[in-house]
């Protein structure tokens, strides 16, 4: 599904040049659940942003479902992204001013999906994360775990092929963290490709494959016997 070939990412400020990714190559197959691990600053999030088409690499090739997309314009990337990729963040990134329902509906709004169909899809997504009873609440009225479940609902609402999760349990206690991991595993079992960045060995143990990064380079890959939800 995704073919990463010798990708680099260099950040430049006036004085310093930092290499975040140094010629990384990676193959992600459809239906896989991959965990990316490594210490802070090793380039995990940068990799995730590039995989999620939020950012362009400085060099190398990126094939997304048979298309070379590393030189795509922002507009082209946005087009591809909104139909194919869902995101889950450590800090949830819900919009405080919108209700749970509206937060989940946001991707559908930008895909131009009609109101009636939208409602059906949002209800279905909220049902999947068991949050339909909170659809009229605002994010700040929910616990962290509930917020992350809403974020998950938003990520899956348009049935994307790929979900990218950046430390999805980082802001949650262990009980809520486990809930969210079980949810992600379930999605994966239903066919969604999942790439997750994490610090946590326990979270990583849910994945089928663990990619280890250090200083912007892949330093190891483990095939994992995943935990079953």
């Amino acid at each position: 599904m995704i073919h990463v070939k010798e990708i680099s990412k260099v950040f430049r400020t006036d004085e310093v040049e930092t290499t975040a990714l140094d010629k990384i190559s990676l193959e992600i197959k459809e239906g896989e659940f991959i965990a990316v691990m490594g210490p802070s600053g090793c380039g995990k999030s940068t990799l995730l942003n590039i995989l999620g088409l939020l950012d362009n690499p400085s060099g190398g090739e990126l094939h997304f479902v048979d298309k070379e997309v590393s030189r795509y314009s922002e507009r082209q990337r946005a087009g591809l992204r909104k139909h194919n990729i869902g995101f889950i963040f450590q800090n949830f990134n819900l919009i405080d001013e919108l209700t749970v329902f509206d937060n989940v509906a946001l991707p559908l709004v930008y895909q131009g999906i009609g109101k009636a169909k939208r409602k059906k899809m949002v209800d279905e997504a909220l049902r999947r994360v068991n949050m339909q009873h909170r659809s009229k609440h605002y994010p700040l009225q929910l616990s962290g775990g509930q917020q992350q479940r809403v974020a998950v609902a938003r990520a899956v609402v348009s049935n994307p092929k790929l979900i990218l999760a950046d430390e999805p349990t980082g802001n949650l206690d262990s009980q809520h963290g486990e809930d969210v991991m079980n949810l992600l595993t379930e999605l994966n079992q239903q066919g969604t490709t999942l790439v997750m960045v994490t610090h946590s060995e326990s979270d990583a143990s849910y994945a089928q494959r663990i990619v280890k990064l250090f200083d912007g380079a892949v330093v190891g890959e483990n095939i994992n016997q995943p935990k079953v939800a």
Binding site: G52, L54, R75, A78, K82, F89, N93, P107, Y110
Partner: protein, 807 residues
Amino acid sequence: MFKNFIKTAIRNITSSKFYSLLNILGLSIGLIAFVFIFIYIRDELSYDKHHAKHERIHRLESQFTISNKADQWAIVPIPMAPALQLEYPEVESYVRFQNTGNTLYRHGEKEYYEEDFYYTDSTVFQVFTHHMLMGNPDKALTEPNAIVLTQSTAKKYFGGENPMGNIITNADNRQYKVTGVIEDLPGNTHLKYDGLISAMTLAAEHGEEEFNSMEPVRFWNIGVYSYVLLKENAGMQSIHDKFQGFYDKYMKSIGDQINASFTLMSSPLADTHFSGNLSSDRPTGNKTYVYIFSAVALFILLLAAINYMNMATARSLKRSKEVGIRKVSGAYRGQLIGQFLSESVILTVISFIIALGVVYLLMPDFNNLSGKEIPEAILTNPVLLIQLFLIAVIIGLVAGSYPAFYLSSFNPAKVLKGTTSGGRAGGRLRRVLVVFQFWVATMMVIGTLIVSNQLDYLQSKDLGFDKKNQVVLELQDSAFRAKQATLIDELKQSSYIENATNTTGVPGRTNWTQVVRVEKEGKMIDDLMVMCFVDYNFQDVYDLELAQGRYFDKSMGTDQQEAVIINETAAKMYGWHDEALGKKIHHGFGEDMDGGRILKVIGVVKDYHFKSLHNKMQPLMIALSEYPNYLVTAKVKDGKIPQALDYIETKWNSFGAKRPFDYRILEESLHEMYDGEQKIAVIFRVAAGISLIIALIGLLGLSSFVAEQKTKEIGIRKVVGASVQNVLQLLYKEFALLIVIGLTLAVPLAWWGMGSWLERNFIYHIDIHWLNFLIAGFVALIIGLLAISYHTIKAATGNMVDAIKYE
């Protein structure tokens, strides 16, 4: 602690330069406008208060009622003031002023027209406070032919010479000896004079007995500006209360004969400037405008303060961490409040100093615009400075109060963890404030449009006569005037001049009003008519249209003695309507109702505006003149004014006029009648501009904060698929909604306010058109959207990867 406040405040101000500059800019502009208006109002309210006894001085005014029509005048009959002193012990002294008319005076080679020379009682220097530079105030005006000049007038005639004892001569060769020099009158004086001639001069000319006569008939001639000085603790009211007895004694006998009555009115000296629409008054101030300007000043100041509040609370996101750290480090809430207030006051004081500098530089332009004569030096007046400084500090405190209390209330644990997003409540208030700013700015724009429209209307309305290419001459000396018929013949011979006429009045300056007797239901009854005496060319020169009958005709021998033309209003008022021809008007009769001429109506002229459009149409009679008149109008051919003026000047000089060539272009003097409105229009324009600029600065600052606050939201939206366009729409929509609410609120108030301004001030006015509101709304909307565009576009196109990490 205080030192620390100031130190930290200055550090904060200098560390966020963009916002400090916006704040200082907004506050300075607001304060500049405020200081000007403050000085203006202060000056308006200070009229004549420089006279030490002003609280005891009252101006006498009259109301004559003839045939149930009342006319109010700023002048009273000549013997009124002395008779009041005679009758009422309350009156300690009095002074009368009679204008000498626009007259030429000369000393040696130097000659000037003087409009502001008055015959005056010798008591003037005891009643009013003047600084006498030369001469003895007790004796200066006691002899006939004595004149006291103001310093600059004396300098004009005598230069370096000592004016005392020197002579100036008027056009009729009367000689006046300078017996005193007083300091120039300050600008805030209602009755301004440049020269005072002793009233004894008149007494010597007319005979003392005649001059001092208190015969009833002398009370029925409208006369002179008169002021009484009351004794300590005395009031005018008791004189008004007892006036009936006075009337019976001095005035009743004639009043009964002519079916008229008289009421004495008065104004305290300091109020004469606002005495309203009295006939023959000097230019007065308008209290309505004082109120309007006060409101404008307050609004502008409020807008500037609101800007500050807006930006300060919007910055709370940035400041919340500082508050948390200070609180954790042991700061009390009061200390934080002090901290934030110090910042706002320091910013306001900086802005105030800038504003004072700008006011100083712009003072000449301000004077020009407002018609005032306020010296720049007023800014060194310590009382004024302290007043203004205190107001600036108060503004600083008001502007700083909300942010101070709001920011200092943050819970340190929350803000340090980053879970307070900068206050949703603050966001709501900010929206209200933006709405308020646009409400005010839009009202100002609407006001500007309506005032300008009204002005255009006044200046371009069809007045019912031809105002184009008319040159008006004044024949001042009688010898010149006697030759008017020859002058007119010669003017008509010029190929540049179509026609010319000799009249007592020209449109815009037709004020002569007299009691006449008109035929109504078979009887002759008294009424007041405006009169204009003319020659055979009048109708042609001014292209007047007739509704009935005919114009004067040389071939009709009787026209000179018997014919009169009236206007449609007169025909309507006397119930003649379409049958006015042949009706009688008796005019020019004496006190015993004898004499004069009985005229028959031969024509009715369509109503034309012979007075400014502030006045409603009055009955007018036009008759052939028996004497040479004062005014000559030359109708010049299109585009030939310069050539015609050369020609007229040659004729003027060849006729041996005693004065240098002088003329007016009628159209220009008609425009001058609306100088007041012109000034209001300019002031509205400036105020609207300032309000918009302040609102713009506010939006610029606010949009930057909103964009900053929404960085995360924008990032999230883009991650889930929003395009730049989607995001722009979202941001614009939010501001546009606020602006539109402001506009909507502005419409009804502006409609009502401008509507009543038009109703109250103009007999003839425009109807308020909805287009004005649309244009104003459009202007405000465009300016508002422009202001927010910079930061909004920057935010919408920003990097979403950074945005979503934003916390």
